[in-house]
């Protein structure tokens, strides 16, 4: 046998090459980027959707999943690629991740994000951590009712990715890889079935897996590791959650707007940032632009406090660089504007006549220190949510 191979080595190699060519020729044809792809050109690829069970801490509530966009492994993987792929922008330079980076808990740590044309937006990039739990609308003003609708918007925003979905979908159809990934994720029969809605569904699936690890210092403390906190952090926690009365600590009233296990109720507030003579004077009318309700002028969604130390600068317009500045702002009790949150002027011990004592410098510092315990490095380092390219 060895002798035969030595004598006919050339013929053996040629035979292998010929066989390979024949086998390839017999495979169902991937029409590639032709102008008129064959109907059903992706059906040779198996469609076998596997449910993706989102890993979450046991003490987190069930994650709501819309019936028309069930989580699948291939859907999440497709969404992850789309999220990080600059194919979504008109000049192929920016992706969703350009303004939502893992290391910033999916913010970009800029006052305003800069779009592909070098134009700055007018609102700060929001953290996407635990975005799956948001129920009252996405963006600072809640204008997108669902995560799927939210995912559609930045592509066509002229100060963000400044593209058109028609263009994106065309590029996705002609792409050497994406049609197959859409097939695996959604069972489409051919590349002509790729739509912006499917792309948005995939991105939304990926965004739904951006869930806390449950391993922050705060999580360890509330789950029984009493040594995880020092005294100052405990005091900060007690004041944040208005639980300090038995320990002679005042209420900071934070949890009313930043409550629940995700530390945000997702509701909208005027948190006393600006002094205006009448509500129409707000530079950014915020929630009003969605609801048309007068008292919603100047209101914005309360953000999650989880990973807050990683998401500076703060507020919808990124006006504060530090958490200390934020605490000082709240401590100033706003400006008495009629639609400011009711708790803004209830910080401290009640004086008994509708006024409150405020906080001491130690108490403010303790709250800031507590906020740092919410940092979740396991989340930002989770390999399943990093750039796949």
């Amino acid at each position: 046998m060895a002798t035969f191979l030595q004598k006919n080595a050339l013929w053996v190699v040629i035979s292998f090459i010929a066989g390979f060519v024949l086998l390839e020729a017999c495979r169902p044809e991937d029409p590639g980027p032709g102008p008129n792809p064959t109907p059903g050109d992706l059906e040779y690829i198996a469609y076998d959707p596997q449910t993706y069970v989102i890993p979450k801490p046991t003490f987190f509530p069930e994650i709501p999943i819309p019936a028309d966009n069930p989580m699948t492994k291939d859907g999440v993987q497709l969404g992850r690629r789309l999220f990080y792929d600059p194919i979504l922008s008109a000049d192929s330079t920016m992706s969703c991740s350009s303004c939502h980076l893992p290391e910033g808990s999916f913010t970009d740590n800029k006052k305003f994000s800069i779009g592909i044309d070098g134009i700055a937006g007018k609102r700060n990039s929001m953290s996407l951590l635990n975005v799956a739990y948001v129920t009252d609308g996405f963006f600072w003003d809640g204008r997108a009712a669902t995560l799927e609708k939210q995912a559609l918007a930045p592509v066509e925003d002229p100060i963000e990715l400044h593209n058109s979905w028609d263009n994106v979908v065309k590029k996705l159809k002609l792409h050497p890889t994406y049609p197959q990934l859409f097939r695996k994720a959604f069972g489409i029969k051919d590349r002509e079935e790729i739509t912006k809605e499917l792309a948005a569904k995939a991105i939304a699936q990926f965004e739904r897996i951006l869930i806390s690890s449950g391993n922050s210092k705060y999580d360890r403390f509330v789950n029984g590791d009493v040594d995880a906190f020092d005294e100052e952090e405990i005091d900060g926690k007690l004041m944040f959650f208005d639980e300090g009365a038995p320990y002679n600590l005042p209420d900071a009233q934070c949890f009313h707007c930043h409550g629940g296990v995700t530390l945000t109720g997702g509701k909208f507030f005027n948190n006393g940032l600006d002094s205006v003579g009448n509500l129409s004077e707000f530079k950014d009318l915020g929630r009003f632009l969605v609801t048309g309700i007068e008292f919603d002028k100047g209101k914005f969604r309360a953000t999650t406090m989880r990973n807050i130390a990683l998401t500076a600068p703060y507020m919808h317009d990124g006006r504060f660089q530090t958490l200390e500045e934020v605490i000082e702002q709240y401590h100033d009790n706003g400006f008495g504007v009629v639609n400011e949150g009711a708790f803004l002027n209830q910080i401290g011990f009640p004086n008994g006549n509708g006024t409150y004592s405020g906080l001491t410098e130690y108490q403010k510092k303790a709250i800031v220190k507590f906020l740092h315990t919410l940092t979740d490095t396991d989340f930002i380092n989770n390999q399943d949510i990093q750039n796949p390219f």
Partner: protein
């Protein structure tokens, strides 16, 4: 063999009888519309009302009801374990949610019983114990400090000095088992498919803020419920007004 057959017959009869629930019989979907009022008006977010001679407005008004029962001499039917009512949702100035209760046994009921808040058995749990979409999965209406759901919320602002500035914030958040209260309303309610399938329940927040002797609640000196889990004085005082503030009609 005869004895054996008789035994089997009796056993079968017992089995059939034991399966016949006293609630068996025709049933129908029955809806109740819940509304918040201020006096005679539907409560609207940020609308000025007069309280104790000065203007106030409400920013948030929401509540839990639990263990809702229809009652007559023959039976008590639990039509719901818990419901969440938000009268001031994010996208509207007011709301009057209508809840459809499924398969309510038809009959003439003499009263309805409401639990204001979350009944102690359910209140012992946490939002993470409930599936997404459950009224009890709402994270923001659970407060770990009390180890309790927040049974009711009434937040707003007032101008007790009548000087044109609403500089008094009031925030009445009632919760904890000690504050849970049930009230039975003796209003006849008929449930019959195609004919009697609806009722209405209103909660007058002006009455909620009024003491039993008709005097206004002391909002100025007690503008908020205590956050001390051991101090439920304000919450209990206000919760005691629910019976008077609630009206049932069909």
């Amino acid at each position: 063999m005869k004895k054996y057959s008789l035994f089997l017959t009796i056993l079968s009869l017992l089995f059939v009888l034991s399966c016949k629930d006293k609630n068996d019989g025709p049933s129908t979907d029955f809806s109740i519309t819940f509304s918040a009022l201020y006096g005679a008006e539907t409560l609207e977010k940020n609308k000025d009302y007069t309280f104790n001679g000065f203007p106030i407005f409400v920013e948030s008004c929401r509540m839990y009801l639990s263990d809702i029962r229809l009652i007559n001499a023959d039976r008590e039917v639990i039509i719901s374990d818990v419901e969440y009512l938000d009268f001031t949702p994010e996208n509207a100035v007011s709301a009057s949610p209508t809840i459809v209760f499924k398969n309510v046994p038809e009959g003439d009921y003499t009263s309805i019983r409401l639990g204001y808040g979350v009944s102690p058995v359910l209140n012992a749990k946490k939002p993470s114990n409930f599936p997404a979409g459950s009224p009890l999965a709402i994270e923001n209406d659970y407060w770990a400090g009390w180890k309790s759901y927040i049974f009711s919320v009434l937040d707003g602002k007032a101008d007790p000095d009548n000087n044109g500035t609403k500089n008094l914030s009031f925030s009445y958040h009632c919760g904890s088992d000690a504050v849970y209260k049930t009230v039975e309303f003796f209003t006849p309610i008929k449930v019959q498919a195609g004919a009697f399938t609806q009722a209405a329940i209103t909660f007058d927040m002006k009455e909620f803020l009024t003491n039993d002797d008709g005097t206004p609640y002391d909002m100025v000196n007690n503008p908020a419920t205590s956050n001390d889990a051991g101090n439920v004085v304000v919450a209990q005082a206000l919760t005691a007004h629910w019976g008077r503030a609630t009206k049932v009609s069909q």
